[in-house]
């Protein structure tokens, strides 16, 4: 226990020190985007509340947006590497706008489902089962 309490932080010190003193690259942003995307996919697959599925969709779109912004960033670009430039930021803006539209329609469908079935449990949406 004492080894765990003292040894683990000391073992993490070089890693954290390297992260704190080295500049951030595109790979850092891609890792964050991958984690957000995976959390969104698992959230979509796991939640039984329809609003939870909606939140998973928001997380997935957000993870994709992180990648777009990272590839378009002027601070993270490699010297000779091609960059998305301004296009990436504009695509990210369009993704945000379409996510807002998607959330409005999906929420309307959810409220309609709730009005007709008195539940938001998507496992009970089985009227179309043959």
């Amino acid at each position: 226990m004492s080894l765990l309490a003292t040894g683990l932080p000391f073992a993490a010190v070089p890693l954290v020190a390297g992260l704190l003193s080295s500049p951030v690259g595109v790979a850092h942003y891609l890792v964050v985007g991958a984690i957000l995307f995976t959390a969104g996919v698992v959230c979509m697959a796991l939640k039984r509340n329809a609003l939870g599925v909606l939140m998973g969709i928001e997380l997935v779109l957000n993870g994709a947006n992180v990648n777009f912004v990272a590839f378009s960033s002027p601070y993270l670009r490699g010297e000779g590497a091609a960059s998305l430039g301004l296009d990436g930021q504009i695509i990210a803006l369009f993704v945000i706008l379409l996510a807002a539209a998607e959330a409005a329609v999906a929420l309307a469908i959810t409220l309609n489902f709730y009005n007709n079935h008195a539940t938001v449990d998507i496992d009970r949406a089985e009227d179309l089962k043959g």
Binding site: P23, L59, N62, V66, Y75, S83, N116, H117, T119
Partner: protein, 234 residues
């Protein structure tokens, strides 16, 4: 104790504050995204989602995309999530606030998620040439070029490898398509979510009932729907 050890390893002058802020925002964004998955209460899920998306806006600011970050805060956090919270409030009956998932589903989803994350991380670490020591890159504010591009005029520098005389398309047509799309979507959402129950009967229904015992089409559809749906009349 860890901070003192860190201070002895990394002198304050060598600390890259850009990296420190990046680590802060990235940790909050990822931790809150995982908390959205793990939480059962839908109200807490909405709160964690607000934190995650706001931290992502911080990441956008750190990447030099200040206009996208501001739009993320205003549209996503200020608009979309308020809409989601309204949905949570409108449907927050006691049995639906926390719908449990079965443990076997959790294990299965965890395995699938871990496999997906492994693939994505492997791809993320393979973009090695993009890493470089940060020189003092100064980027122009991006709001004006974005506005010009949405009007169909490109005012930004072309990327490396693209000849300067090449015609680069603006975004006027996608801008118009998205605006029409938003209009159609909002009309459709208002139509779908409209209130169906009327407290006072419409004039046409009153006239129809005064003629005779005629069941209106709306009432017939409602009664047949509640007969089809088990428990739909609740």
């Amino acid at each position: 104790m860890m901070t003192t050890v860190l201070a002895s390893v990394v002198p304050v002058a060598a600390v890259n504050w850009h990296s420190v802020l990046f680590l802060l925002f990235a940790a909050v964004a990822c931790a809150c995204a995982v908390a959205v998955v793990l939480a059962d209460n839908v109200v807490r899920m909405a709160f964690y989602l607000v934190l995650s998306l706001a931290s992502t806006a911080g990441l956008f600011f750190l990447a030099g995309a200040e206009f996208v970050g501001a739009m993320q805060l205003m549209i996503y956090v200020g608009g979309t999530l308020v809409l989601l919270v309204f949905g949570v409030m409108l449907t927050a009956q006691a049995p639906f606030v926390a719908i449990k998932t079965s443990p076997s589903d959790r294990v299965l989803a965890g395995m699938v998620g871990a496999a997906l994350l492994a693939v994505l991380l492997q791809a993320a670490f393979r973009v090695e040439p993009w890493r470089r020591p940060a020189t003092a890159a100064v980027a122009a504010p991006a709001a004006t070029p974005i506005g010009m591009a949405l009007l169909g005029v490109r005012a930004d520098e072309p990327a490396a490898g693209v000849p300067a005389a090449a015609v680069r398309s603006g975004y006027l047509l996608p801008f118009e398509i998205v605006s029409i799309h938003l209009l159609v979507v909002l009309v459709g959402a208002a139509y779908l979510a409209r209130a169906k129950r009327r407290r006072t009967p419409r004039a046409i229904d009153v006239a129809a009932s005064s003629v005779g015992p005629v069941v209106t089409a709306r009432q017939a559809a409602r009664s047949s729907a509640s007969a089809l749906v088990p428990g739909g009349g609740r």
